[in-house]
Symmetry: D2
Subunit: 369 residues, 4 copies
């Protein structure tokens, strides 16, 4: 039991507060011999980094990650990898006034009641900045997966932002990396952009989002009964991200509205002697174990709670107060949750690959045909 | 790491196959001095038990639970509690023909590919029968909670079954326990009943469902950053239940469509000096920690995969085959998932209460006012 | 965290009290496809079973183990294996009088103070009977190791019983299984036997013992820095056995008296291209990782606390009392600890083999030459 | 499962190599509200620090610890505490020649064989420098214990160094902190000092040691059956320290030579209504649970393997080589193991106190009288 750790064997512990000296991740259990340098992780951190465009917070953090241990001459050694990101742009004055105020939708009130003490600067431990450490750790997982499962791809993208929905008939895998929303539909980018600016500038408001992460090329057989199911761990991974309120695998909540005849993924034998499915309502997971289809996980991020429109709240001493959260805040935190979701998926897949090797080994198992 | 265990301190390990000699749960970490007798658990097992009416499978299992350890003279001793349910109605002939067939939507194909061996009788380990053990363990958690948190209530109910949706304007907490669907609206019961019969008898089909579990009266402060969040563990708990494809806290996936102004739960000071919230979009959890509001978790169960309408599949040796799953199957497994969801919630709440005591103790923490 | 579980991946949870209906072990994480039948476990239980000769307690328990789950048609399926041993000879009258008495050297007083309730019958959970469940679980580990590491041998034997010490110059590996003390020196058996009878019959006394367990043929590379060292887990495993007060690896406590020149195991290259060591002061473990030499672990078991010679104690209500423990008790519990130590070693070795496969895989790693 | 973590709830993960940029400890689960500043930890690091006198290595490391997270305005917040110690004196040239050599008694050969890669600089991850991180984490545990258990004391001291043994008839608790050997007998210090100089300077040799750690004033009731026993965790904690080969509780290995009549700790009722024991053969632990007596744990540290006297070994490519380990090495690493043993004991006691609170709470349990 470790309150800030995730994973069974590939085990990530994040640490650090938004405005402390540094934050980071302690990554234990990584296989040895994986090529690893800070630059490989920086790519993903840059993807998540704030201050890149007008859709995200103006806070200017370089988010430079350093590898303090576990790597020798450019390769992992199998010992713990310490990843540290120093906080440089702390501007704590912005946050001074909120020390005694419980911002609606924030963890201020529950942290205070639970612990009787909290670091209020920038949300302290409950800040979305914690996810930078996850992205760094996810980068390690990606490099290990690259070595162990050639061809595996992990990609996240937005499927909804408020009233805007992805038009799946225009789905374009290659468009994802080429726009600031990671939208798989280039033709919709301008519309989403305008919508977000309208909400932020005209309405002083924020908006929620849905993100889908797809793992393509994962081995068959990852996952285990009954509580170490692959979908169980994916659900936990995504729900542990700040502001996430729902997680779905495949059909997700829509499964409640389907009939058995509609939901069945029928099975055929492909030309390569491997099973082929007629559809993927299951999201690539059957009985908690990967089937070889695309693994599809989706999660919803609530709208940013910090908005310029006033909301009612109370102070630590019980007075009523009207809260307007000034400062640097994303109008849609869901955008930056895309690389975080990818990172969590990478960690879960690697972890389950290792679990599988532990129990089953690398050799043959059940064959078809 | 334990593949069949759940919980940090109150730790439940389920074991057993659908048609083996027995199945059960090993419950470790229960507080001592909790009054416990088999009858207290039997109540919940009876609620989940199949064969009670025409909406659930005809398999006739008494599901009698025995307590083999950890209880002395009617009280828990703090040592592991072994709960065993013997399988009596095994009728394994019904299942003989499926040994070589991969039923669509079932774990047959992934278990086979992963392990190279599986107990095919009734789905073996991946059978929904495993949830009987969870319900028994949840009963233990309920008794412990009764002793530790007087007034706490945990209730599950259906909010959707295929095209039928709960009309929340008619929500009636007291109606829940008085109908076979655990519907909080007595006026809709007949309609749901007719719909299900139509699907089963006329259409040879099955249907999905959504279940909501509410925890009322949980203490403020349960949960912990960052990966031991209360919502993280609730999501994992629900997603680990057979056939579950989505989990939501509060607004859930709908949060993706909301604006910040809509989603804010404003805070006021109640007459008793405790915080009062204007709404509960958060589902009772802020920053992973319980706020004192109702904890609201919802999950979707896919339609039963075993149906009488033929579906295409393949055999172990790769031949094409048309599968019709005869035998005893619920047209909507979601119905019996209600007590399972309650049981999982009870386990998570108790576990987090114990975690909280470990780190914070029972004494005072942050006060308001 | 699980208070009654042991192991990282091959995870054993024992449950049950001395005089409850049954006790057993829940074994999670076993590789699939391992041939397993109850008879294979019974061999080891029979070795540990009391009542076999005059050196051990007269309690007559058949200790028949049943496999309730996780095995299909004689092979493990990779799902949890439930092992149950029913208690038949409970004679609880023997123990009635001790309910209110704290026997010196027993856990009576600490259990009472900690939990405020305890099952006093036969020591309840703290009874040495719990080790029957370990022996059964160890039998599962042995069968898995047989499949995964051909040629691996695990053998335990006594090296000391009170004033009697094993004469290592007469060490005979083949003698071990042919006498009731598992002594590697057939010529000393009669002397040990006489000594024990003298202590029991003439002196109304008991005596301590030291047991050594050797693992021969374990793969190089088992263990991991820093807290999952192979010797760390072996030490925990042995110290967790009832009445054990010390654990040693290789030289053990004697290392405190050695010089560096004496303690060095010099390294040479063998004819087969593998390293050969001039000695084995290290007990087969360097830096927490197995070196390929014999793994040597030793532990001391205190003398049975239940003796016929009166000892001073107090009752639950604080009165002074003279305690004479009648009933059925081994004069040297250390004898029956031999198969328990072997079982624990088997579990640790299998668990670390699985951990190794998780992180490193089965393929090649560092070569010499 | 985490290979570099220790503890159930108060969970410490150490990271870092001897000659990397830094090393440290991630401490998760600390109670909130504990006063904590770097200076409080520095005290213990200074105690362990090398280069202080001629008995320890000449490597000059300031070992300045920094707290990077989890503390706000001088108090712990209940979130992870990151402790970092930067390496300044790396002089890696000293170690260049050993990259291809397996030093006898070191982990060089097993790390290489297991991982196929290792950081050879100063022993990398297997360096005793890792224990600096433990000492820092132990300092955190000490401060938390100070807040939770007033009056609790943890003290370590040497009881043996090669042929020198502590004369227990001269035991002086107050002498411990006043000499470089932490000897509880001031009159023997000069003799031990001369002996060690003789070994180092005249004999080019090193020597082993035994260290005893006593916990005075620990609450009754810490520990839990069966695998989370207090002595099990203490044994694991001590055995995980570099170079430790044996661990004892109370009588330890000597229990093998005792009779039941000798070993019994008889129980009386003290004037304060609490139990008093006639002796402490048990080392303060009965059935895995603390009895209120002094908790006594002892461990043996092997002689430093790095010595100036040549030893035979092989290189990575299989050639024979004579190894003389020049450089900066303690003639008796056992001396500096004293604060490490104390730190581990502090972590275990705090962890079990938290476990106890989780399951039992802070309120009353079984009373005597």
């Amino acid at each position: 039991m470790s309150m800030n750790s995730f994973g069974h064997i590939f085990r990530v512990t994040t640490w650090g507060e938004s405005h402390g000296p540094a934050l980071g991740a302690t990554v234990d259990g990584c296989p040895p011999g994986v090529p690893l340098e800070a630059e490989m992780l920086q790519v993903w951190l840059d993807k998540r980094r704030p201050g890149q465009n007008k859709n995200t917070t103006a806070r200017n953090e370089p988010d430079q990650v350093r590898i303090l241990s576990g790597v020798y001459e450019g390769q992992t050694t199998g010992t713990p990898i310490q990843l540290m990101i120093e906080n440089t742009d702390q501007r704590s004055k912005d946050y001074g006034e909120i020390e005694k105020t419980f911002r609606p939708g924030h963890a201020d009130i529950t942290y205070w009641q639970k612990y009787g003490i909290r670091d209020p600067r920038g949300g302290g431990r409950s800040s979305a900045r914690e996810t930078a450490a996850r992205v760094a750790a996810g980068g390690v997982a990606r490099e290990a997966l690259k070595a162990l499962v050639p061809g595996l791809e992990i990609k996240g993208y937005m499927t909804q932002m408020g009233e805007k929905h992805l038009d799946r008939s225009k789905f374009d895998w290659d468009a994802i990396d080429n726009n600031a929303f990671w939208l798989p539909d280039a033709s919709a980018v301008q519309e989403w952009e305008d919508y977000l600016q309208f909400l932020r500038v005209k309405e002083n408001d924020s908006v929620g989002a849905a993100i889908e992460v797809v793992v393509r090329g994962a081995p068959v057989g990852l996952g285990a009964p009954v509580y170490a199911k692959l979908d169980t761990d994916l659900a936990a991974a995504m729900m542990s991200i700040n502001a996430v309120k729902g997680v779905e695998i495949g059909e997700g909540m829509a499964a409640a509205g389907l009939r058995g005849t509609e939901n069945a993924d029928e099975i055929f034998l492909g030309n390569d002697g491997k099973p082929v499915f007629s559809s993927n309502h299951a999201g690539g997971i059957l009985g908690g174990i990967s089937s070889g289809q695309d693994i599809v996980v989706r999660f919803a991020v609530k709208p940013t709670s910090s908005i310029l429109t006033p909301r009612q709240s109370i102070t630590k001493t019980g007075e009523s107060i009207e809260v307007i959260t000034k400062g640097r805040h994303d109008p849609c935190v869901g955008i930056r949750a895309v690389p975080v979701g990818e990172a969590m998926a990478a960690c879960v897949i690697l972890d389950h690959l290792m679990l599988h090797r532990a129990q089953i080994g690398e050799g043959p198992r059940g064959q078809i045909g």
